[in-house]
Symmetry: none
Subunit: 388 residues, 2 copies
C-alpha cells in the first residue's frame, strides 16, 4: 500500500468578514475525500506553538524539532544539493549591493541566475584559518554557504541586516565557543567583498547559521521508500535531510506560478515506485503572507482540480498543512491545521467537507504533528505491533 | 494586544438532580462570549488529576507543578507580602488556644486581626541555633512563619493536628536531612508558647512546610507585563511567585462577600497598563466545598453582570477555572474545567453557551493547563516562531 501526503503550506486560516480560504474555495474533489474519509485538527508542533516551515515539516515527518532542528542553513544547503557532513555550518546567502559601506540592495538588483552563477568560483573554495568554504549560487540572488572544518559553532548572528540603508552586520558570537567561527565569518565577508569588487553584486549577506546533524532516515524509521516533489529549496532540503528521494519536476518552482499539474502527474507516475510520496505546494502560504484571500482560495481551487489525477493511484491520501498562515495574520500562526485522511483503513467520520471548522467536529480529534506518521503507518497496515 | 484571564475558582461541576452551577446560572453575557468565541475542556494538571489551588494556578500560568511546586507555605508567605529568599522554609501558621496541653480552639476564638497583630513582635525575630524566624500575622488567627538559615529542609510534618481535643503535634523529620529542621520547629514551638503564656492565643500551629525556589518570571517567559487581582493570600502568593504585579483592591477579600465589581473596575482601569490581567474569584470554589449549588450559581450570575465592564477593554478574554469543585463532591475534583476564549484571533466554534457539557463539543477540544499560555500567546499574536 502507498500513501500520498499533500502539504498545502500554511493552509490553515482565520475567518474575517469572509470565511477562510478553505471555506471559500470551491473544491468538490477535496471535499469528496473528506466526506469519504475523516478529518481532524493537527497541532503541528504543539498547542499555540508557531511552526517555521522547517520545524513544521520535521514534526510532520516524525522528527522531533527540538532534537533535529539546528537552524535553517543546513536545509537550504541540502535543498541546493550540497553534500553536507555532520558538523558543517551552513548559511542562507544573499548577493547584495553595498555602496559606501551601506547596503543599498539586499538582492543586488535581483541579479539573474546565470550572472550570479559566474560569481560562484570567486567564493567557493576559499580557505581561512583551516576552514574551507563551500558556496553554491542557486536562484537569482540566492545561494548557500557552508563552512567545513574543526572548532566551528553555529551560535553566530547574521551578517544580513534584513533591511537596506544600514551597513552589513558583523557576525557576533552568541556563545563563548563561537568566537572562532564569528571571526572566520567576518574575515570571509571581507575577503568575498574584495573578490567581488567592481561587480554589481559586491557583497554576500549571511543568515540562518545552522549545524548539520545526522538523522535516521525515513526508511530506517518507517520502512517506507519515500519521494519528495517540491519546488522550494527549503522543502527539498528537509526531504533530503530525512533521506527522501527528491524528484525534479520541470516548472515546479515553489512559487505562485509553479506547474502544479506537472507535480501531480509526477506523483502519479512514481506511485508504484514509492511507498510514500510527499507533495508540497508553497503558494497557499505565500498568499497567506500577502493577506490575499482570493489568491489563497484560487490555489486551493487549482489543486482541487488536480486531485483526480492521483486519486486512484494511492491507497491513502492525506491532505494538510505544515502550519496556518491566516490572511488576517499575514504570518505563520499557532492555530491547528485541518487534516484529511482518505483510504481503505481510515475510519470514516461524519465530516462533509475540508476546512478548519468542520475539522473541529472531525473523528480524528486533536493530535500533534509528531503523531501523524504513526497514524499513517497504521492506515497503511504497515505499523509494527508493540508487544505481542 | 492584551488579555484578561478570569479564573472562577473550582467552577467545574457535576450534575445531580439539577444541572451544574454553570448550567443553572442565568449568564447571558458569558454565554455571548462563548457564542462569539470558542470553548473546550482543560485538564488543568492532567486527566483525572485533582489540582490544588496552588498547583492548578501554576499549571495554568505555564509553570510545571512537578518542578515549581514545593509546598503551600511559600505561596502563603508571598501572598502576605513577605520577601522570601531562595531556600527559605515557609509555613502557614494559626494562632490557637491550648489548655492543659490539649488544643481546644484551632483559631484562638477567631482572634481579631488587630489583637493578633500585637502578638507578632513576640514571635518575629526569634533566633534558634542560627536560624532566624520571620513571622507575620495576616487576618484573624492566620499568619505565615518563615525559617531562614543554613541546613534547613521542608521535609517536616505539621504541628497542626487539624482537629481539637488532642495535643499539638511534634514536627517529625520526613527525611534524614530534615532532623535539624524538625528540631528547630519543636524548640521554636516551645519558645513561642512560653512567650504567649497568659494570652488568649497561646500557641502557634504550623502546617504546609515548603521551600522557596526561584522561578523565571512571567515576563521573562512570555514577554507579557502581568497584573493580578485577587483576594486570597494564596492566589496573590502564586501571582507574586511568577512575578506578576499584585494589585490591591478595596473590598477584595477572597470570600463570598468580596467586592467583585471593584475587581472588574480595577481590571478595566489597568487594561492599558498591562498585557495580561489575571482576575481571580474564589467564591465559586467556596460554595462548591459547601455543596451549595444555589450559592455557586449566584456567584456566576453576579460575575456575569460584570462582564460588560471589561468586555471592550481586552482583545482576548479567557474564562475558566483552576479545577472543578462539584457541589455533590464538596472537594476539588479531577474533572476537566470548561474554558472559553473570545477574541479576534480565536477560531469561533459552534458552541452556544459556557458549561461543562457544551464544552465537550467545543472547537478547542481537550488540552492541558500547561498548554494554555501558548494558546493565549498565539491568540494575542505574540507567540515567537519556532524555526524559520
Amino acid at each position: 500500500m502507498n500513501a500520498l501526503l499533500l502539504i498545502l503550506d500554511g493552509v490553515g486560516g482565520l475567518r474575517s468578514n469572509k470565511g477562510t480560504a478553505l471555506e471559500e474555495a470551491n473544491k468538490p474533489n477535496i471535499d469528496e475525500l473528506a466526506r469519504e474519509g475523516a478529518t481532524g485538527l493537527m497541532h503541528v508542533i504543539g498547542r499555540g506553538i508557531v511552526p517555521g516551515s522547517d520545524t513544521g515539516h520535521l514534526a510532520i515527518f516524525g522528527y522531533e524539532p527540538k532534537k533535529y532542528y539546528h537552524g535553517r542553513g543546513p536545509f537550504e544547503a541540502l535543498g541546493a544539493k550540497l553534500e553536507l557532513k555532520h558538523g558543517d555550518i551552513a548559511f542562507r546567502a544573499n548577493f547584495a549591493r553595498v555602496e559606501k559601506g551601506i547596503v543599498v540592495d539586499r538582492r543586488a538588483g535581483r541579479i539573474e541566475t546565470s550572472e550570479a552563477k559566474k560569481l560562484e568560483p570567486l567564493i567557493n573554495g576559499i580557505e581561512i584559518d583551516g576552514v574551507r568554504v563551500i558556496f553554491k549560487s542557486t536562484t537569482e540572488h540566492r545561494g548557500v554557504l557552508v563552512l567545513r572544518g574543526e572548532h566551528l559553532s553555529p551560535d553566530v548572528s547574521d551578517t544580513d541586516p534584513h533591511k537596506t540603508g544600514v551597513p552589513p552586520l558583523k557576525a557576533k558570537a552568541l556563545s563563548d565557543e563561537a568566537e572562532f567561527t564569528a571571526n572566520i565569518i567576518n574575515k570571509l565577508s571581507q575577503t568575498i567583498a574584495e573578490r567581488l569588487e567592481g561587480k554589481k553584486a559586491n557583497y554576500l549577506l549571511l543568515r540562518g547559521a545552522g549545524r548539520m546533524h545526522k538523522a535516521p532516515s525515513f526508511y530506517e524509521k518507517y520502512g517506507l521508500k519515500a519521494a519528495a516533489i517540491a519546488g522550494g529549496a527549503l522543502y527539498k532540503g528537509v526531504a533530503r535531510y530525512v533521506g527522501m528521494d527528491v524528484l525534479e519536476v520541470e516548472g515546479a518552482t515553489g512559487d505562485k506560478h509553479s506547474n502544479f499539474k506537472a507535480k501531480f502527474e509526477k506523483a502519479k507516475e512514481i506511485s508504484e515506485d514509492y511507498d510514500f510520496v510527499f507533495l508540497h505546494v508553497k503558494a497557499t502560504d505565500s498568499f497567506g503572507h500577502d493577506g490575499d484571500l482570493e489568491g489563497k482560495k484560487s490555489i486551493i481551487e487549482k489543486i482541487d482540480k488536480l486531485i483526480p489525477i492521483i486519486k486512484d493511484y494511492f491507497d491513502l491520501i492525506v491532505i494538510t498543512g505544515d502550519h496556518s498562515t491566516p490572511c488576517i495574520y499575514k504570518e505563520h500562526s499557532g492555530h491547528p491545521v485541518p487534516l484529511l485522511a482518505y483510504g481503505k483503513y481510515v475510519r470514516k467520520d461524519e465530516t462533509m467537507k475540508f476546512d478548519e471548522f468542520e475539522a473541529m467536529k472531525g473523528g480524528l480529534g486533536h493530535f500533534k504533528g509528531l503523531e501523524l506518521m504513526d497514524m499513517i503507518l497504521n492506515w497503511l497496515k504497515k505499523q509494527k505491533k508493540f508487544g505481542s
